[in-house]
Amino acid sequence: MDSRKYLIAFVITAAIFGTAIFLSNTLADKKIENVRDIENKVALDILSSETQFALLAETSCRDIGPGFLSKELGPLGERLSYAENQSGFNEEDVDSLKRSYFLLEIKDYLLMKRLTEKCRITPTFILYFYSSKERCEDCERMGYVLTALRDKYPDLRVYSFDYDYDLGALQTLKSIYKVKSELPALIINGEPYYGFRSVEELEKNVPALKLLETAEEKALRASTTPREN
């Protein structure tokens, strides 16, 4: 019997396996790099906004355009949550990216808050706490609702936080709003809401949402504005 054939088949199969493992690791590294790039960009955006905000003392609220706050926080969150749920990513990398993501969210949130106070804009943000430790089906569904809301209202800012994540700033945020461990939890205008809420419920109960333009209205206005000019 030809044992050489078995050896060749084994070597080829091992090579295919090796290539798959190598390729998977390389692509996961590239994805992590991609997330890191976005994080850097968000950090820079926030720095730029903060600087602009600091200058506000000397200027007026009118100078603040629609692109004042970073647009990349949402996509960054989606990428991180994908990386968290997929195998193949280096856990330490994902963990460190998550840490800086939460910090960036808090910074953005503070900026947003100061901005709304100074310029008397209606605050349009939601703080959302979910659990990654325990299986939380409602958290998953709440995530779908918030994504749908963000798609509908592009100016809505959703800050999502892992309730169980060990991060000083996050603990402080939780204690400020006295967030209980009944997840999912939403903080809207300082009011806590516990348990799952549907799109309709949120739209009905949150006055701030009503003031926001929907994506369609926004698109419509964008298409008619040039003619007005």
Binding site: A9, S24, N34, Y82, S87, R141
Partner: protein, 415 residues
């Protein structure tokens, strides 16, 4: 990686990939042999050994007439070809269909009490005095050149049995169409196993044997309703050579409904497991070469890893589908129905996904070669799609049932 389930998943993927690679290497090795076979067949037989075709029938009134006519239409000298039609105690109109041929000079008809397929074939063998004996199930049909394309192999004195290539007869629905491609794969596999001396089935539809083997090794035995497997294993155990003629086509009627298909395959798998238990001394026995060391152990192993791999695939697809449904039910379909923009970031590039892509690529290569070998040229049809989409999902149904039946010794029936 350390979890047992992950270990089993990776081992199963490794073995299935290894088998595909092994088949493809074998193909590269035997391409020359296949060409030589084609030339030998094109030349035609150097002689026409006397041949008896036995048709065992049990309640086959619908198909047996076409089966008999297809044998009579064989392009083979009439004086060298005899038919023995054995009615195995049918309770439908089979016997009256057989009696239509009672005056045909090439045909012998006999009837007996029902005793199982093996007893009917053995009665036929006892009535035959030819050099070659073949058997054709009454739900299968030969083409005029089937026998001519098998006989030349017997010029080699060491060859004791020749198996044909089985194709699906006129597929009518998705299930039969899927089987059409499965049988093509089988044609490729049998040809490769033939070159390795590792054929472990001499199929009921038209395997041809030298009649002397029945004198030397005895007739067919009751063997867990898969007598054709037992016979092949007995030949292998006695180191009798079996080869496959990929040019000899036999058409068989395949189950039209899932229930029938599962029942048939449970019988085959149950028969395989139990025959392997009976012939366990072949396993990992160096004396028997490829069949003992690789093919049979792999076939046994595949009974367990196939449901595992398919289960994983099903669980993954199911959970993804459920998530999508859940998302739509919870939050509605967002905005207009436009597709989200393509983003490579969200493509699953995990090791298992990449290995699955690799395995699928090799599967496609083998399907291409199978179609070329079975049909002479490559033509893509729907059966390939049905096969890829559904086959791996339904295989676990019969594999697990057969294992269950074996463990609990439940009776498996023909129909």
């Amino acid at each position: 990686m350390a979890e047992p389930q992950t270990f089993v998943l990776y081992s199963s993927l490794f073995i299935s990939l290894f088998f595909e690679v092994f088949l493809l290497i074998t193909y590269l090795e035997v391409r020359g042999d296949i060409k030589r076979d084609n030339e030998m067949i094109a030349k035609g037989p150097s002689r026409y050994p006397s041949t008896t075709v036995i048709v065992p029938c049990f309640n086959e009134e619908k198909t047996v007439e076409a089966t008999i006519k297809s044998i009579l239409d064989l392009d083979y000298p009439k004086d060298k070809l005899k038919l023995v039609l054995v009615d195995d105690g049918s309770i439908d109109g089979t016997l009256s269909v057989l009696n239509k041929f009672k005056n045909h000079p090439q045909i012998n008809i006999t009837t007996k009490e029902n005793g199982g397929k093996h007893s009917a074939v053995n009665l036929g063998i006892s009535m035959a005095d030819s050099e070659l004996i073949s058997c054709l199930d009454a739900d299968s049909f030969v083409t005029p050149d089937t026998l001519r394309n098998m006989v030349p192999y017997f010029d080699d004195e060491s060859i004791m049995a020749v198996t044909p290539s089985i194709k699906v007869f006129e597929p009518e629905n998705i299930l039969q169409s899927m089987q059409k491609n499965e049988y093509r794969w089988g044609i490729f596999l049998r040809r490769m196993l033939s070159s390795m001396g590792a054929l472990y089935v001499t199929p009921g539809p038209f395997s041809v044997f030298r009649s002397k083997i029945f004198k030397e090794l005895g007739g067919f035995k009751y063997a867990h309703l898969t007598e054709d497997m037992e016979m092949a294993l007995r030949l292998q155990k006695n180191r009798y050579r079996i080869v496959n003629s990929h040019n000899a086509h036999v058409y068989t009627v395949t189950p039209k409904r899932l229930r029938g298909l599962i029942k048939q395959r449970v019988r085959w798998t149950y028969g395989f497991i139990n025959n392997i238990i009976d012939y366990r001394d072949l396993i990992f026995n160096k004396r028997y070469g490829h069949i003992g060391l690789f093919i049979l152990p792999l076939a046994i192993f595949s009974i367990f890893y196939t449901p595992f791999l398919a289960g994983n695939l099903l669980a993954k697809t199911g959970s993804d589908a459920w998530k999508t449904v859940d998302r739509i039910m919870t939050a509605g379909i967002n905005g207009d129905f436009s597709m989200p923009s393509f983003d490579w970031y969200f493509i699953n590039t995990g090791v298992v996904s990449l290995l699955a892509v690799g395995t699928l690529a090799l599967t496609l290569v083998i399907i291409y070669l199978s179609i070329k070998l079975a049909d002479g040229k490559f033509r893509l049809d729907r059966s390939v799609f049905y096969y890829l989409a559904f086959y791996s999902l339904i295989v676990p149904l019969w594999l697990t049932k057969a294992v269950f039946d074996t463990i609990f010794r439940r009776k498996v029936t023909w129909r």
